[in-house]
């Protein structure tokens, strides 16, 4: 078998929705070479070749694959976590076994836009992050040049839902 095991190494409640969980895992094989193939197979995946990372969703769950690890948010419970792990393992192994018949895709088919990120920011242009506008901050976030932690407003309880949404979008870009 190409990929033998995915070991879950971390599991906690989601920040905004304590009824859901997020977890991380380690892969027993470096799957970097397979990511572009999976990017072709999964039509709505977001591939970031610079990291590299590949993010896709399974219903409400957000799954990000790196070359030797995985991060998942919004899973239901432990059983769900391990079911996702099994599903992902099969996806990787099946894609690998079939890779002679798949045209690898290195592009990012779709990605969140700066506007989308901006919509969830406080939009007050306070400049505390070091950027002159929230829109500028959004653009840098999207390129991975700024850390979300720089926006202190987002980390107040008032902005909790917005923060969670931005984190989802950033996870899709492979930044978490």
């Amino acid at each position: 078998m190409y990929l033998d095991e995915i070991f879950i190494t971390y599991m906690q409640s989601c920040i905004a929705d304590s009824k859901k969980i997020r977890f991380k895992g380690k892969l027993s094989t470096d799957i970097g070479e397979v990511l572009p193939y999976i990017n072709r197979v999964i039509k709505n995946a977001i591939f970031n070749k610079n990291i590299p990372s590949l993010t896709f969703t399974k219903e409400f769950r957000i799954i990000t694959l790196y070359k030797d690890s995985i991060a998942v948010s919004k899973a239901i419970n432990e059983t769900d976590a391990y079911e996702i792990i099994d599903m992902v393992k099969d996806l990787i192994n099946n894609t690998y076994n079939n890779k002679d018949n798949i045209q690898p895709l290195y592009e990012m088919r779709t990605k969140p836009t700066a506007i989308e990120l901006y919509n969830h920011l406080p939009k007050i242009n306070c400049k505390r992050c070091g950027e002159s506008t929230c829109m500028a901050f959004a653009s840098k976030l999207l390129m991975g040049q700024k850390n979300i932690k720089k926006c202190s407003h987002l980390f107040t309880t008032e902005f909790k839902p917005q923060l969670e949404r931005i984190k989802d979008l950033l996870q899709m870009m492979g930044y978490f």
């Binding site: 190494t9 599991m11 906690q12 304590s18 769900d80 099994d86």
Partner: protein, 382 residues
């Protein structure tokens, strides 16, 4: 060591892997599952998940999260009956139920004023599925049958009964305590809405393991509420599976053993287990039929039963036969009503009980020869 012929009560011996699985868990993992922040707790989660998945595989259920653990079949059956049946409802059941089902129904009858119909069967334990249909009423909310009797072994036509239940949209529950692990079961093909199982019989797990598989979308209220690991700030029982029904710390030590039992079964192949047991059942029936003064109850047909055979010997009480077998020959069998009084009404042994032998995967022809020789001697000395 003696000859163990009480596998319908619990299987013995267990495959060595089962014991090793428990020891390994106790020595090397030892943690509880449910959102632990450290590696070893995650290992416990993984072990529980793998066990669930093996159960799902064995009974052909696709959804691992629909496999629910309980302390045994009895707890699973109580959860289901009490979680489905409402005041004034009507329930249909077999004439051969174990007290796990029967006492639970009788208690609900008293407390919720429900009515119970028992579908008649022949004295061999055969049920005509068409009879089930005759008992269905407007307020029938549950049909519950054992898959095989623990007194006479008769296998019930569950697939056909399930078909009828489906036609009327009534949940069909199968108590597979005596078949899970030795008889191939396909939860979908067999039209089962909820399957209950116990871990310590033919699944080779330790005592204190069991549960049910939900293959039904209806509303089932949990029997108990409590901690489930995650989302502790929420004040009510979560509604997602399997946590909804699994309040309190799981028997992970037992589950570690059950996992190995399930792997043993899947590696050996359920059909191979079934065929091997069938051969030994045929041999047992033939050898017992050699004995004068011995009456066998039930079908006397290896195609129609699991490895459970009840009998009596003329002029000797069941208790005496069991006692003599144990004390003089080291052969372990059961006597009495085996927790299923209604089944004894069917075969006419409610006052006397029966001697029951039950064959497991590790029994051999030699065990049966020792039993038959002992019985012949006991009769001669009487």
């Amino acid at each position: 060591m003696g000859v163990y012929l009480d596998n319908a009560a619990t299987s013995y011996p267990k495959p060595p892997e089962v014991v090793n699985g428990i020891v390994n868990y106790m020595n090397n993992i030892g943690t509880t599952s449910g959102r632990g922040a450290y590696r070893k707790a995650l290992e416990a989660d993984r072990l529980v998940y793998k066990t669930r998945k093996l159960i799902a595989k064995l009974f052909k259920q696709e959804k691992t999260s629909n496999v629910i653990f309980a302390t045994n079949a009895t707890e699973a059956i109580n959860t289901i009956i009490k979680g489905i049946v409402k005041k004034g409802d009507h329930v249909i059941t077999s004439s051969l139920e174990h007290n796990a089902v029967w006492r639970c129904l009788k208690t609900v009858e008293k407390e919720k004023k429900i009515t119970i119909s028992t579908v008649p069967c022949t004295k061999e334990g055969y049920t005509d599925p068409k009879d089930v249909e005759k008992y269905i009423r407007k307020n029938t909310s549950l049909i519950i049958f054992n898959h095989a009797s623990n007194v006479i072994g008769t296998i019930q036509p569950i697939r056909k009964i399930g078909e009828i239940a489906k036609k009327y949209d009534i949940p069909f529950v199968v108590d597979a305590a005596q078949t899970a692990g030795i008889y191939p079961i396909d939860i979908n093909k067999d039209n089962i809405d909820i399957l209950t199982f116990t871990g310590h019989k033919s699944l080779f797990g330790p005592t204190g393991t069991g549960g049910f598989i939900l293959n039904w979308n209806g509303n089932l209220t949990p029997l108990k509420e409590g901690g489930t690991g995650g989302d502790s700030s929420y004040e009510y029982q979560p509604d997602y599976l399997p946590n909804k029904f699994e309040a309190g710390t799981l028997n992970i030590c037992g589950i570690a053993g059950l996992k190995e039992g399930l792997e043993y079964i899947l590696n050996t192949g359920i059909n191979n287990i079934f065929e091997k047991e069938k051969k030994l059942i045929a041999y047992t029936l033939n050898r017992l039929m050699e004995i004068d003064k011995l009456t066998i109850y039930g079908p006397k047909d290896p195609e129609k039963i699991v490895g459970v055979v009840s009998f009596n010997i003329e002029g000797l009480s069941a208790e005496e036969v069991a006692y003599r077998l144990d004390s003089d020959y080291g052969i372990m069998v059961r006597s009495g009503l085996h927790c299923a009084p209604t089944a004894h009404s069917i075969i006419g042994t409610k006052n006397t009980g029966t001697v029951r032998i039950s064959i497991g995967y590790f029994n051999t022809k030699k065990d049966i020869d020792l039993l038959v020789n002992a019985l012949k001697e006991i009769i001669k000395l009487n």
